[in-house]
Symmetry: D3
Subunit: 340 residues, 6 copies
Amino acid sequence: MAKVVTFGEIMLRLQTPDYQRYIQAKSFDAVYGGGEANVAVSLANYGHDAYYVTKLPENPLGAACESELRKYGVHTDYIARGGERLGIYFVEKGASQRASNVVYDRAHSSISTAKTEDFDWDKIFDGAKWFHFTGITPAVSDDAAKISLEACKAAKARGVEISCDLNFRKKLWSSEKAGKVMGELMQYVDVVIANEEDAEKVFGIKASQTDITSGKLSDEGYKEVCQQLIDRFGVKKVAITLRESISASVNNWSALLYDGKDFYKSKKYTINIVDRVGGGDSFGGGLIHALLENYSMQDTIEYAVAASCLKHTIEGDFNLVSESEVKALMGGDGSGRVQR
Amino acid sequence: MAKVVTFGEIMLRLQTPDYQRYIQAKSFDAVYGGGEANVAVSLANYGHDAYYVTKLPENPLGAACESELRKYGVHTDYIARGGERLGIYFVEKGASQRASNVVYDRAHSSISTAKTEDFDWDKIFDGAKWFHFTGITPAVSDDAAKISLEACKAAKARGVEISCDLNFRKKLWSSEKAGKVMGELMQYVDVVIANEEDAEKVFGIKASQTDITSGKLSDEGYKEVCQQLIDRFGVKKVAITLRESISASVNNWSALLYDGKDFYKSKKYTINIVDRVGGGDSFGGGLIHALLENYSMQDTIEYAVAASCLKHTIEGDFNLVSESEVKALMGGDGSGRVQR
Amino acid sequence: MAKVVTFGEIMLRLQTPDYQRYIQAKSFDAVYGGGEANVAVSLANYGHDAYYVTKLPENPLGAACESELRKYGVHTDYIARGGERLGIYFVEKGASQRASNVVYDRAHSSISTAKTEDFDWDKIFDGAKWFHFTGITPAVSDDAAKISLEACKAAKARGVEISCDLNFRKKLWSSEKAGKVMGELMQYVDVVIANEEDAEKVFGIKASQTDITSGKLSDEGYKEVCQQLIDRFGVKKVAITLRESISASVNNWSALLYDGKDFYKSKKYTINIVDRVGGGDSFGGGLIHALLENYSMQDTIEYAVAASCLKHTIEGDFNLVSESEVKALMGGDGSGRVQR
Amino acid sequence: MAKVVTFGEIMLRLQTPDYQRYIQAKSFDAVYGGGEANVAVSLANYGHDAYYVTKLPENPLGAACESELRKYGVHTDYIARGGERLGIYFVEKGASQRASNVVYDRAHSSISTAKTEDFDWDKIFDGAKWFHFTGITPAVSDDAAKISLEACKAAKARGVEISCDLNFRKKLWSSEKAGKVMGELMQYVDVVIANEEDAEKVFGIKASQTDITSGKLSDEGYKEVCQQLIDRFGVKKVAITLRESISASVNNWSALLYDGKDFYKSKKYTINIVDRVGGGDSFGGGLIHALLENYSMQDTIEYAVAASCLKHTIEGDFNLVSESEVKALMGGDGSGRVQR
Amino acid sequence: MAKVVTFGEIMLRLQTPDYQRYIQAKSFDAVYGGGEANVAVSLANYGHDAYYVTKLPENPLGAACESELRKYGVHTDYIARGGERLGIYFVEKGASQRASNVVYDRAHSSISTAKTEDFDWDKIFDGAKWFHFTGITPAVSDDAAKISLEACKAAKARGVEISCDLNFRKKLWSSEKAGKVMGELMQYVDVVIANEEDAEKVFGIKASQTDITSGKLSDEGYKEVCQQLIDRFGVKKVAITLRESISASVNNWSALLYDGKDFYKSKKYTINIVDRVGGGDSFGGGLIHALLENYSMQDTIEYAVAASCLKHTIEGDFNLVSESEVKALMGGDGSGRVQR
Amino acid sequence: MAKVVTFGEIMLRLQTPDYQRYIQAKSFDAVYGGGEANVAVSLANYGHDAYYVTKLPENPLGAACESELRKYGVHTDYIARGGERLGIYFVEKGASQRASNVVYDRAHSSISTAKTEDFDWDKIFDGAKWFHFTGITPAVSDDAAKISLEACKAAKARGVEISCDLNFRKKLWSSEKAGKVMGELMQYVDVVIANEEDAEKVFGIKASQTDITSGKLSDEGYKEVCQQLIDRFGVKKVAITLRESISASVNNWSALLYDGKDFYKSKKYTINIVDRVGGGDSFGGGLIHALLENYSMQDTIEYAVAASCLKHTIEGDFNLVSESEVKALMGGDGSGRVQR
């Protein structure tokens, strides 16, 4: 098992209970989550030494957030403390034709005001095998983008493998800015992960024959996207998740993996959704694990998709499943039969 | 935006949590709702000055009920206070092949014992553009039927448009009595709303080629129903909701609109149900809004159906969605994708 | 209505709320249940004098368990008290591709250490018409197997009809031991109930052309199983439930009944699952009721399957439905329409 | 242990959670309770064959209510079914200087419209030793008063001991009417139970030197009350509970017993209140048990007061304590130390 | 009844359930509250036309906040919309020797970045009789202080009575800055409200012979404070609340009122606390109501203290009691006896 | 900060919500706790490297238990995995005169069947400064007693300071056996901790002039107890907690410390109890911290008592307070005033 480092923002997620609208809520369910922290938890669950790097405020919420990471086996040694506040995001869970409604309240968070001196990347990457970040981190602030770049350089210098999930967030930055910043970071990246619309939103690379809103996705179109990402940035592998959103309650879920030579397509799962937040991150976690463990390319994409399929059945951002559970699904048992 | 008046009974709804049966319940979830109040809330959400007229007891439950209407933006100025009690209805929510089980405890409610002097219709309709009531109100008591008639006359005299949802309740009155009382009220009505069985239950007008229990509904049959309602009562428009009840968990939902000349058929939605109580009322609310805003006939029926489709995803009687959310669905995005 | 006796183990079931994993739970929902107690509750709901026989510890949990049975109308007069502890089982409810995860903590329970002198079968069977037990009871301990045998002999001697649900539990015993012990008990049994894999697991009688994990079941294969059970043990009737597990959220559900002469196949229901634990037991309860009431063979299997279909929509182990509700579904109304 | 019969009204109690006001509540905690049912549960807990007699509606709420009585060991064989509705009362729990706020919604309940033919008192009192009712039952309706009188006559004729808790409810009847009706019933009563203000409210017999609102109660004054009750009605024993209401959170609690010869005063407990509803009923239950078991007069009043002291620490109307728990407190251990 | 205006910040309050620490919480109870909004709700409850003025963000949380005010009868017509976010404060409720722990997350809130053009004070004060604000509003930002000053000037110009609760918050500003800003505002203020330490913290006016932490407060000391406030700022009346904090669970509560001539001391209440947040605001609400209604000085202070005593028994920031409930307590009934 | 080791049994604690009795509960609140784990959490909160040693089953409950320890900062590196089950204890929380009712279901737990080879004490104590265990551990099984002895010997050999809380549990063993086993272990112990009755129950050393049930404790009597413990076993320090149980809701709490020369008596706190389980353990945690930090003897006992006073206000077994919170109370602020 390997030392893995992820870097980004973790937030307090406050969700109305059941299917309540904001105006109805008398309480909020509270979990902590964020793209890179979610990946760290996945990797800890699969047995790796996962280190999560961020900055948290010096208050009881920052402490509670850190304790939650520790609970799920993530190492918190390199978390900086200070700054103004913990980012928050509010969620109202969708159902059927009604989409989930997310309200972000993440501005002025500790990580968005962090400085390069908050992190000692040489120490952090000492002995590490893998570094993962997402497009959210550099979007959070210019300083965060700068720190992300430093982290990439330090990782590269030490021979640490680097993966990046494009994770475009239009509420944080424009496509123009994203393209510019991410373009620079991509030079250091070995493995790119994207969902069905990220490549277009960040780099203007559009999948042909695809209409995302109607849930019609074309494999051929996405193969072109992969090829262009490799051509343009020199990355080694591209993985693209393909969500066919039938409704907020039912999604089809599959993915493509391209290693520059062959395309590998996973099985497609039809999922009754419990909680889809963190679905993409759990794919990233599964992918990194499979690559670290040297699975075959086909097994790699199957593992990543099976892992993230299971995530959709779990409440909260974190994918709380074990390697053996993922392998059971990957091996064909999606019948949900009780074992007793 | 217009002043709109609705009149009827609002009750305390007590529902067992989750899918518990009555015998299992240690608590009841409490909301307030009733056919005409639900329409008022819809209209307030779309920006209208919605006034709800009823009679509530002078006790803390009556006060809580009124405050809930106020919360959702409904004007409560014309609500009479007094009488014996607030009507209650208990709900045990169904799932799959098990139907919801409603126990009414509404007899002796304040509105059922209200008298004509409780309401000053001239004042109430001053400046109003629309009046809506349902077949439940006159069914509640002979006095309530008498007040409904007075309200219709007063509205008509002032040129206020009148809509009525037939809403037949066999636990409140017989088809015979309903036919007689509603027949008289229909003379004043401009727009009739009915579900797939109301016209037959109230007026004996049956849709041919239809078996409601099995969920098989015939458009042709319902067109005949519309024509007969116009022929018999001289109403201007008829809208009929078409629920195909696959199970308590999944329904198909669409509607027909007839303006005496052309038929307009809406899209059909397959809905994973969160709470279907108030589904028909949210259709009425959408329809009235669209008519007040002079949407085209096709847009009118699409708006009403999209609005009520969303209602099925919301807990409680009230349809807590905005005009922009309805329009988004009407415009084709039912994929439930998170916006972020 | 008849005096019916069931014998076995009832446990405290502790389930994580909603879809939480064990590691997330801050509380457990608590119900009581067990194969034979579940049948007793079904029969009490249908109007029979159902007596449940077991041994419970002399502590507040034993008392709470007994009071719960009493609440649902089951007679507790013959329950022995004493021993070390109440068995517990923990449940983490599955969803979609994630299966439910059951952790048993039932060793050393009072019933597993009960002795033959704890039960006076002559008194218990006095006036009884039916005796039901399952393959779980003899699996619990050698003493429990011995008591089961005594019960069977006492029942047979008094002309009490005997039914047995094979209910194989691999966490309690091996197929080898099960085959040996159950084989001896089968001599006394009139009606055998099994699910789609019990006959193979207990007696090595496999349905041909069937792959349970993939949800592909063959009627022909199961007919052979029925015939072999009759040939080998001389039982009078065999009923087999056929669960096609599409996922943890959706199952197809039907059954076969064989009376040694003809095969009767029930309707097949597609179920959105609320709680599938106790599904098989509710089938047994329905079957025994139908046989006691002398329904036709086709009605018998339809009643049993409709009863157990409804169970899947009810939380907890017990099937809290009435005979009239089962008959309504059996009669064709599975539309889940609200009656009002 | 003896057969004991109690007769009266049991209601669904709907209470706002924690200390919420009605206007804040999104749910209500639900229990069932009523003066005489509460006594029946106490007596069942102490080991008696307690039969509760009432009339419940033929609907799922009536069934749930009956099942709850059964759960706590009360026999429901003589409960009549029919009528319009189950009575309801709403509770908003007080704290500190804020009193609890009860809203009754009990009019038109099944028991209030019951007729004499609903109950076969000869069968009901067959083998019975004790009959208990309260002043609430005859207050509910003239018919209920008439049935109460019949019950008293039938009990007297069979030599069944009769106790009555005056339990004056000003929301149900006037002091004038109460005095007249209760005066007639008192001729049959052997043991009278009253709280610190009942005798004055019902019969105009006032305790001197007492100001209830300020919590100042005089023993001497209450001794005079006892004497007058015996003089006027020829009852054998009078027990008076003395609640010193320091606030809604803290009460002092003690009682007096007079057997026509000597006065017995109990210990006084200072109680941190969990739920004081049913406090008086639990006193009645303790008193009847002690008298049935022939405790000494001093032990009788101590048992009754200790039992009702414990009731104040238990949620719901019912006093869910065993004889051994009452005796432990009566014997002096009120320290609340954990036993382990 | 009068038109009353209050101005300030309202926040989302997120509280851990029961007595949980932040690190334990899996959900937060959500209410909305803030010093001036709390006063507005009190005044609405007493029957006044209470207008609350603030700025809320254009998002679902801002809308939910506004709907909650509307629910409690507060007019929201003058609320500006826009800005970045709704302020939040987190609460961990104390018990016994453990104090409540408040974490503020209110920086960058919409009201803190509001500009003078957001509010049209001439329109707002049209027809108004009273204006109330607290020391929190000017502390929130320099702009907010500027707007407060403008509001004071506009109110003064129209002859609107002005009250100010000093409400010092050391987490928002220093004593130095507070003294300077508040000193200027005091010129317009008619009625000053302060707690036992505000005068010292804001203006350096210390009560002699007092040790707040130990709960020892001296009436004489506070009389001097009142006199100095009048001497220095020319206000007409000073009211000081006197909280003796025995523990987080039990407080003594009373107040002093000085009209420049005589001192009026209220009764002192010993309170078992349900929720003490908003205690001071409910005092302000009661005081303003009593002054608007021209109560005698003694009745004024008694009403204000009784109102705020009751607040301590109510969950949330708002004091949800009616005038008749306050008068009942003021009239002497603090026994918490149930009325039935 | 120091490496500290504690060893013992941690259990799943299942508690009925609020003040429900077992028979009422539909769910159980779940936490994990046990005497020595509770001490470890205290020490982790104060900044030490706390290692907890036990044996947990290889199932999801064992994993959840370990994750909870990790959440609160306790190192779990030396926890053995295997055995049959996790011990459980059920709690019904008392109130006022009703005591809490604990039902243990801990037999056959993994730690009770652990063997000496499960723990490598040399590795465990490497670098450690302190070892703590309680009288519960050796009571659990003969093997656990044997392991405890080995641990004491290994600790002694390495110069690790040893503390032991006598913690007598009459449901686990007799006073005779406890005296014998604990007597042997005491030879290695430096610091003994006991509550007001342990010394008598384990070693027959009774405090004179004391009646625990009535809450009357004599300081003089306990000084004699301390002296005898030192005389008999040669321990260096004795600390005795003195709980005066006024009721289950209110306790007085203080302690004595004797260093063989002088007696130190702490302040006495009157506590409104939120959760008293773990009260003694939090005292031990505070005492060890103070001794490790070389506080003065008076400060040591004050710190330990203040820490445990705060524990009584916190839900669950663990004392979730920081050193600064303890010091604030110790320094005199028990007023529970909100800081803001």
